[in-house]
């Protein structure tokens, strides 16, 4: 429980670190790694502008998204309430409402973002499920605590973890799927959906995004070298993961929407290979 609280509290730091690394790789100074905290406190204290064509759903959505994502994180310790598959469904609860909120203000941007987000999400889902299956089959359970406590590392879990990393890139809106830094009409996906949000609601949505990111990072880093899962090692592994994500973001360009299908098919093949390796008993 304390572990989860620390994770939740430190989650914005991950984004700060990634952005710092990105800036340093580009030989720029960049904002401090605590910038996400400053942003959040600014969002929370600022007033909020809501479009007059919005319904109650628009105001409620940030809380639903926040609650669903935080619950997903909490399931790590409340393992009697739900398992890893329930986590996938909780993320889809958050996404469902976010996509609806994108359609609510009656703008083209929001609809465009919702459509693209749901498109990518529906292709990510089978890949995520296959890699979750591969990991859970090695652990012989879908219970999160037991998956985290797994000690051995096998070929299937390595492949599935790699696929899960690609899934995480898509789910957290990173390059090459989406770009968190852009507000260019034609390319934005997640940002287009939340374009009408401001103030406190935007802050909640950002925070939920950090939670989701930390969940994936934590899952992936505890699956890599599972022998070393003491907090110190986990933090080191997560920092390495930050470096990898930053390097990927700096060195690649965002893909065209329909190239994402190829990217995700690659991830899908990777996770399918993981299952095949599992069957062959590697």
């Amino acid at each position: 429980m304390i572990e989860i609280a620390c994770l939740a509290f430190l989650s914005p730091l991950l984004s700060g670190i990634i952005s710092k690394i990105k800036n340093n790789l580009r030989f720029r100074q960049g904002p401090s790694i605590f910038q996400p905290y400053f942003n959040l406190s600014k969002y929370f204290s600022k007033e909020e502008v809501v479009s007059s064509s919005c319904s109650w759903l628009f105001r409620l959505t940030p809380y639903i998204v926040f609650a669903a994502t935080l619950s997903a994180l909490l399931l790590i310790s409340f393992n009697r309430v739900g398992d890893l598959i329930a986590v996938i469904f909780l993320f889809s609860l958050a996404r469902f409402f976010l996509a609806l909120a994108g359609l609510d203000p009656a703008t083209t941007f929001g609809g465009m973002g919702s459509s693209r987000e749901m498109f990518i999400a529906s292709l990510v889902e089978p890949v995520a499920m296959l890699s979750v299956f591969a990991i859970a089959l090695s652990a012989k359970t879908t219970n999160l605590t037991f998956i985290f406590a797994q000690q051995s590392m096998s070929v299937p879990t390595i492949m599935a973890t790699l696929a899960l990393f690609l899934v995480a890139l898509a789910e957290t809106g990173r390059i090459p799927i989406d770009n968190q830094e852009t507000h260019l009409e034609l390319t934005m996906i997640h940002e287009a959906m939340v374009l009408e949000y401001s103030g406190r609601s935007l802050g909640l949505l950002e925070l939920a995004g950090y939670f989701k990111q930390v969940f994936f990072f934590w899952l992936i880093s505890s699956l890599i070298l599972p022998g070393f899962n003491e907090p110190v090692f986990l933090i080191i592994k997560m920092l390495v993961l930050c470096l990898v994500v930053a390097a990927v973001e700096v060195s690649l360009a965002k893909m065209r929407l329909f190239r994402v299908v190829d990217f995700l098919s690659f991830a899908g093949i990777l996770s399918a290979m993981a299952i095949v390796a599992l069957v062959l008993g590697a």
Binding site: F44, S45, E47, E48, V49, S51, S52, S53, W56, L57, Y63, I64, F66, A67, A68, S71, F78, N79, R80, V81, D83, I85, I88, F89, L90, S92, R95, F96, A99, L100, L103, D104, P105, A106, T107, G111, M112, S114, S115, R116, M118, F119, A121, S122, L123, E125, P126, M129, L130, L137, T142, N143, E196, G199, R200, F258, V261, I275, V276, V279
Partner: protein, 610 residues
Amino acid sequence: MLNTYFSLVFDPLAVFFVITILTISIPSFIYSLGYLKGHYSTRKIVLGQFLFGLFVLAMLAVVTAGNIFFFLIVWELMSLSSYFLVIFDTENKKSIEAGTIYMVMAQIGTAFLIAAFLLMYQQSGSFDFYVIKQALVSLPIQQKNILFLLLLVGFGAKAGIVPLHIWLPYAHPQAPSHVSALMSGVMIKTAIYGLIRFVILILGVNALWWGELVIVLACISCLVGILNALTEHDLKTLLAYSSVENIGIILLGVGAAMIFIKLGYPVLAVLAMGAGLYHLFNHAIFKGLLFLGAGSIYNATGSRNIEKLGGLINKIPWTSSYFLLGSMAISALPPLNGFVSEWLTLLVLFLGALTLGGGLKLFFCFSAAILALTGGLTAACFVKAFGITFLGQARSVKVEQAKECGLAMNMGMAILAFLVVILGLGVVFFIKIFGFVAGFVMGVDASLIRFSLNSFVISLPLANNIFLATPQLLLLLLLCAVFAFVLLNLFFGRAKVLLGKTWDCGYYKLTSRNEYTATGFSKPFRLAFSFFLLPYRKLNKVKESFYHVKNFYYETHTTKIFMDYIYRNLLGSTFRLAGSMRGIQTGSINIYLGYIFLTILLLLVFRGIF
């Protein structure tokens, strides 16, 4: 004599289906009291209610019939009464067309059933289920295979298994909404009942490939159904396609149960069948709810085309909340009932992959991946259906003036919406009931299987530490939301909200024409799945001069592969065959007498040989 022909059975399976039928029929009937009033004359209402009653009665008789003779009669009565309900709007040409397609498909299905039943009768010399069951044990495996395939096609045509699904998107939208709710929610499930009763209970699962075939068909139905639903803009047609998908999810559970029982894993078989039955019941409820919701939208706006709706959430708040609940349930969002049964189905596939080895492990994993893809596409489909219909701005004047429907209609929907929540939260209670029915079907004493850890947490049998507790999940969600709300108010004060206009890039004024459309929403899917949907588009620019475009026409639609490439060809060749047969009908009585003589001769020869 009468007794042997009209016996009834009331075993757990029959009772389960009776309860399912009644659970949907009663709210639908309450709804119809309000719905029919505005649309039809008094005489037609009386006729409609009579047919509705007959339809419900026929369905009840189908699931309680105790012998194949009676079963066939009420099965046809069910098809016939629903046919008349499909063509209820007789002045509408589309209704007649839909009715004809429905009737043809129903008859093709029945033809296969009759063939199967004749085989059964030939073997046993009796109509009774139990006598047949005993007689079929000694049947050679090849004949059992044939019997299975006949039953699969016969019931598949009614259930809407791809490629026999083509009548659903025609027939379901044309019937009045409360009948659509019943047809899509319950009637297609009577075919699932037939499959369970005749294949699993009477015939018994005799080969592994039976279950595998059912799962493959289920996966295809899932994907075909939901992809068609995604690109569909008529609300009721969309829902009909999504029924094809949900039949697929139900059959995933049933097929997995068939594999498990064949391989000798009774506990897993009960769990798989329980998941299938749970989803069957859930789908009946939320699909019923969504169809009633679509009826209320039609009642309020006079349109079912979601491209013409929009902004209804403020105009018809009750209907929109019910529809939102239904959409959430069908998209398997926690903690509602669709989530529970889809989670169970996934876990069944997981446990199957865990227990079995080799090819079957792969098979179950990929089925789960397809189920996940289907889940993602369903969520997208219902974001579109709810978002375009209820959110944003109204796209026509009629929608602008929409009024909430009356008390009876609201009541009908409220009951089903309540059940959507209850079946999600009361999973520990319901899993035992569904487990009991599944135990009866699979011939296992389900009371030996522990489904729940305590009164709130369900734990799956075979240990593995897999748990789910939907009430706690809801509590967790609520606590997190309240936690955020309270902390924010404590540290940052009350939220200050300004009302403004939607960001319009400095454009003059945003109208409903600037909104994203349903066609636009589904475009990425149309392009990515173009190998199946075969989208067709036509652009036409009317230019005033080289630089100035005066008018712009854009047309796009997808191709209905099964209808256009398979059924139209079949229909064409049937007509051609009939045309070529015309040559032997000369109209001369002498030649006809000759035909009769020849026929008798042939029959005598036939009898002599066999």
